[in-house]
Symmetry: C2
Subunit: 397 residues, 2 copies
């Protein structure tokens, strides 16, 4: 049998396991088998989210949910998401092996499409489950090849029977994830106690110009969709510096048509993404990028439109969970720091359902969404031990 | 049998007949049949250039060559190139029908890959034939899918037996083409007497940054290949305004990797193209764009490289040919103007082989490299009559 990181593994040691791809099906099959082997009772909901529950001793106690995601970025790293799911699996296996019982049930989870690369938004499965998104709207989302989310979910056999919503109240949600930023390493910490998650705005802008010959068409006759896009992309680099210390702005995707060396580009679509710990800053960044697009379209004489692809709120975690994680790290003798997450996580949506907390593992060089993403074995172990202790604490073990 | 504009014709009335595609094979078969039907002696050279000769009465007289190209841009117009080849065919058919003999042979030609969209450079077949490019180097060129020119030429069955070079001296070369710019229409002329062709520089720049997460990666940690590309693309729009009245600059092509909304772009390739009637201006534009690339790479901390894809010299046509075209237009009673071509043409290379001239047909709205390219029937007729009279004049008819 393949090891989990081999499913979708790349030649360069990374992971290419896009959501609802064949590789996603394969890793889901693997995860279901692991959960069954660990005596968990397995459920799959209608959006593909996968749950496995270990019973508690108190029939009135609400479950503690622990997990993350098994999908990856295109040519991403092997730790992003998977480490959190494996840590959750290890937690229940260890409880089984050591015959530790908890008052509350402990449930582990693999959320569908956390990455948001193939289909937007990110954190889609947890978002629908938590009621932030409408099921039918998300089913209808398409990838760049026009494939529909719901069809792809059915194709890989993971459109489950359960409604995509909490079947009952939950006690807490905990998630382990690699930091994906440089702060823990820079501060020489063993583990991160996450206090919240930045919010973000994602969208796509399309400029419509006129294809024409790049030679005999005088400059002032042109309606060049790519020049306008380039203008806005340089502003997306600049806007963060006018807003906040932690504000970031990125264009990750661009597509130009007809994309021929001697044709003036007719239609260009590109994305924006801004993040910040403050929702006001995020809204202001979105306002400014649309204003820049308006100006650029005016200058070139273009039509344009935009589409919002995501708006995740900034969240601050509940004290109870932050404290549980902090206590676990302290008790285990790890040198930790409290840190705000710059990446989005399923914990963003879980925050609206129950008390939520996260543990960060150190990311070497802060790299992720890259095949060279790396977390040392010791750092994986520190983060996994911390979340296990915090979970057992919250579950009354 | 299909009409020629149906071969590769698009739903919107344009033409998608990329060089060495299946459609290119089909149009070549059609053209060979037409030449045979017109009693021309047909030759295909090793680069796929197709010739058909109508004998002259003077066995010592050098041939007059007339033609253009049958390949198109992606989703381009139906006049660009094809009109010049059809006009050449009509010329020999008319001479046949009216039993007019000429002292010099009249030869018609379809040059391989004039467009330069699928494989660069443009005007490739005439360039090799005229000795501006090395045959083996051009055989080795690849398209974006990695397909090799020579393989594709063999695949469609048009790698001929003849060496790709002039088999003898030529008297003159004439080419009819749509203007592809707005000047004839703006000046309300019937036909254009072309006096020369702008030169151009084409190339591609690639920036190499680092893929990383668009959220937790602080702005000053980033090495964003797309931001650098956007910087240079905005400069490509600006540089012409600092150089000359007729200078134009364009980025027609861009490709970003991995092209995911939440990954900082790692590798971006994009093209430059500058044109001007002065070779000094063209060289200066190329120098400036490379300087901008150097600066942009420095700012973002990127590696970068560039590749020259084309450098066509600016040419001024021989008086003899310009006069023959002017006289033909005047004799036919057409209101004409002398004009410098802003597009490249196979005439650029023929200029180094023999006296060369061109006739321009009016382009409605100056549009081309676009499915909406249009030249009225009257304007086609005016240009075709003008080139026919000029050719017969030069061929001693
Ligand atoms: N943690 C993570 O990489 N999430 C994907 C969504 C995002 O933050 O871009
Ligand atoms: N005439 C024409 O469209 N030629 C293609 C090469 C170029 O000028 O871009």
């Amino acid at each position: 049998m393949k090891e989990q990181a081999e499913i979708g593994g790349t030649a360069d040691g990374g992971l290419h396991r896009l959501t609802l791809s064949d590789e996603d099906k394969e890793i889901r099959d693997w995860f279901r088998d692991q959960m069954t082997d660990a005596d968990l009772s397995v459920r799959v909901d209608e959006f593909g989210n996968m749950f496995g529950r270990r019973a508690g001793t108190d029939s009135d106690a609400k479950p503690v949910l622990v997990g993350s995601h098994l999908d990856s970025q295109p040519y991403g790293g092997i730790y992003d998401g998977a480490l959190g799911v494996i840590a959750a699996l290890e937690l229940v296996r260890t409880l089984n092996d050591t015959e530790i019982e908890t008052a509350h049930p402990i449930e582990i989870v693999n959320w569908t499409n956390e990455e948001g690369s193939r289909f937007q938004p990110a954190m889609q499965g947890s978002g629908v489950w938590a009621g932030a998104h409408d099921l039918e709207e998300e089913y209808a989302k398409t990838d760049v090849d026009g494939k529909v989310f719901e069809d792809e979910l059915e194709r890989i056999g993971y459109k489950g029977e359960e409604p995509c919503e909490p079947p009952e109240e939950y006690e807490a949600y905990l998630e382990l994830h690699v930091e994906q930023g440089p702060y823990l390493e820079e501060n020489e910490k063993d583990v991160g106690v996450v206090t919240g998650i930045v919010g973000f705005t994602w969208g796509a802008i399309t400029f419509y110009g006129e294809a024409d010959h790049s030679g005999p068409t005088p400059m002032h006759y042109r309606q060049d969709a790519l020049v306008a896009a380039a203008d806005v992309i340089t502003q997306i680099r600049r806007i963060p510096s006018t807003l906040g210390e932690r504000t970031v702005g990125t264009t990750g995707y661009i597509d130009a048509k007809p994309n021929s060396i001697n044709i003036i580009p007719e239609e260009v679509t590109f994305t924006w993404g801004f993040r910040d710990p403050s929702d006001d800053v995020i809204d202001e960044a979105r306002r400014r990028v649309l204003e820049e697009a308006e100006w650029a379209a005016d200058r070139e004489g273009l039509e344009w439109e935009y589409e919002d692809r995501m708006r995740a709120p900034a969240v601050e975690f509940a004290d109870g969970c932050v404290d549980a994680v902090q206590t676990a790290a302290d008790d285990l003798g790890y040198d930790s720091m409290q840190i705000f997450s710059g990446a989005g996580h399923d914990a963003t949506h879980m925050h609206s359902i129950c008390d939520t907390g996260m543990v960060f593992a150190v990311s070497e060089n802060g790299k992720s969404h890259n095949e060279s993403e790396y977390t040392s074995w010791d750092d994986c172990y520190a983060a996994a031990s911390t979340i296990a202790n915090a979970a057992v604490d919250l579950a009354g073990g």
